[in-house]
């Protein structure tokens, strides 16, 4: 095994890491907004239902949620894993392994992160004082205009720090995908350590991928925060 082989294999895993990361963000952010509005809804049943749901999702480990999404459909089918069928479908059509597991991972991540984001969004929106809304109203603005031109930017500024934390956590959480056999970066590295003769250093090497990724994100968020620092409350 050469350095080149290891690098190639780790990049293969890293591609999956990135896919999970991107898909999760792209779907969980809008979904989180919908949940946030639901949590603030005046329609009590919806509000409390979502409250309980968010509490459960945030209260149990993401790994358990992955297992539930992956294994629970088997209850209906004598324990035969539904996702294995999807695996096969992916294999025949695209020649890739563990396609079903990958979808199951995406579903778990999206639901989990949407709930975390929803709580951040809700806090951000509620953190804008009632006075801002009223100032807009007495100037004859519509609720929509107030949200778009007064509330939104202030919310974005407010939630950027907690969102950066959450997004950086997401980068590292993607590693949980290997619990149901998705060969992301860490599993790709670990596979070298469990063959004969074992290679230990790829495990350290895989850390570099995360450090670079997280480093770039940190720079990006730092830049955004600076851009929005032109005013204080």
């Amino acid at each position: 095994m050469t350095f080149f082989d290891v690098t190639q294999s780790l990049f293969g895993g890293f591609a999956l890491t990135c896919l999970i990361f991107v898909f999760t963000l792209v779907v969980a952010i809008p979904l989180g907004m919908v949940i946030a509005f639901g949590l603030m809804s005046k329609f009590k049943p919806l509000k409390y239902l979502l409250k309980v749901f968010v509490w459960i999702i945030r209260g149990i480990p993401l790994m358990l949620q992955i297992f539930i999404v992956y294994f629970a459909p088997g209850i209906l089918n004598d324990g035969v894993n539904f996702w294995n069928e999807v695996d096969k479908w992916f294999y025949f059509n695209f020649g890739v392994d563990a396609g079903g597991a990958f979808i199951a991972v995406l579903i778990s991540f999206i639901i989990n992160y949407a709930c975390y984001f929803a709580v951040i969004f809700k806090g951000g929106i509620e953190g804008i004082s009632r006075g801002q809304n009223e100032a807009g109203l007495v100037l004859g603005m519509t609720k929509r205009q107030i949200f778009r031109h007064i509330v939104l930017f202030q919310v974005i500024k407010k939630i950027t720090p907690p969102m950066s934390n959450e997004i950086i956590t997401l980068v590292k959480d993607t590693a949980l995908a290997n619990s149901i056999g998705v060969v992301e970066t860490i599993l790709a590295a670990k596979n070298f350590a469990t063959t004969f003769p074992p290679l230990i250093w790829p495990i350290f090497y895989s850390g570099v991928f995360y450090l670079v990724f997280v480093g770039l994100l940190t720079l990006l968020f730092g830049f955004l925060e600076k851009k929005m620092a032109f005013y204080k409350e």
């Binding site: 009223e134 109203l137 100037l139 609720k143």
Partner: protein
């Protein structure tokens, strides 16, 4: 009929009745000062005039035009909420300056003044016209009006500053200018100087005095008795949701009739 006629305004929050039938009238160019102890319902009254709250009962008429009638309260409330455009139009008869300024922190001073009128002007335009609105004649005159208003409150040179870069007194003057740009018929103030350090109240009161000199019709809730005395044409003393005493400043401050008014004024003197 007077310019502004307010009759029988009642408002409850749950079981507590906060306004128990408020009547007053005001002529164009007059200044009404509302005084009263904490919790007497002054803010609630202003909020009813600005339709931030909807009175349960009572009427509000301006210029012989019935703006609000709480008798058909349920129906009126529904109508007002749903018919947003009508409600917004009614709101614009009144301006409101808040105790806490409530400037938009992410907009600079000029941006604070221009936001609402710009959005309103754009509403009737096509998508293409909206894109180029900033180059239009209409925007130019809007901007000119905003700058002139800033000059009126003495803050022209601060037009590019953000609210966080201004003192409290300056922020409140921006808030006054922001309300003025909408050309309200009546400008309301809710304790405009209560959130300010004592040395900053003067500049805000001066602006209100100047507005009076240019015949702006105003309703000012204030704890500044001296100011109320020499600026107001009419004074209302509120206690527990009713008007305990009303009249000219000479009447209310000079020869108060009600015992409550007397003891309130006495307690104010000792401050």
């Amino acid at each position: 009929m007077a310019y502004l006629e307010v009759n029988g305004i009642r408002k409850s929050f749950g079981k507590t009745e906060v306004l128990k039938g408020i009547d007053f009238s005001l002529e164009q160019g007059e200044v009404l000062a509302i005084i009263g102890s904490s919790g007497s319902g002054k803010t609630t009254l202003l909020r009813c005039l600005n339709f931030l709250e909807f009175a349960d009962e009572g009427t509000i008429s301006l210029n012989d035009d019935l703006l609000y009638d709480g008798v058909s309260e349920a129906a009126a409330k529904k109508k007002l909420k749903n018919n947003d455009k009508l409600l917004r139009k009614k709101r614009l008869h009144f301006g409101l300056v808040f105790q806490q300024f409530n400037l938009f922190p992410h907009k600079n001073v000029l941006g604070n003044l221009l936001l609402a009128p710009t959005l309103m002007a754009k509403e009737d335009l096509s998508f293409k016209q909206r894109l180029h609105f900033e180059k239009s004649q209409e925007f130019a005159s809007l901007k000119e009006r905003a700058l002139a208003t800033l000059d009126r409150v003495g803050l022209l040179e601060k037009k590019d500053f953000y609210p966080c870069q201004l003192s409290g007194g300056q922020q409140q003057r921006v808030a006054i200018a922001r309300a003025l740009v909408m050309n309200p018929d009546i400008l309301c103030f809710d304790e405009p100087t209560s959130a300010l350090d004592p040395e900053l109240t003067g500049e805000v009161l001066k602006v209100i005095r100047e507005l009076k000199d240019s015949d702006t019709t105003m309703i000012v809730v204030t704890h500044e008795m001296e100011f109320a005395r020499d600026v107001a044409d009419k004074v209302i003393y509120m206690a527990n949701g009713v008007i305990e005493e009303a009249g000219t400043p000479e009447e209310v401050f000079g020869r108060p009739q009600s015992e409550k008014t007397k003891s309130f004024l006495a307690s104010r003197k000792n401050l």
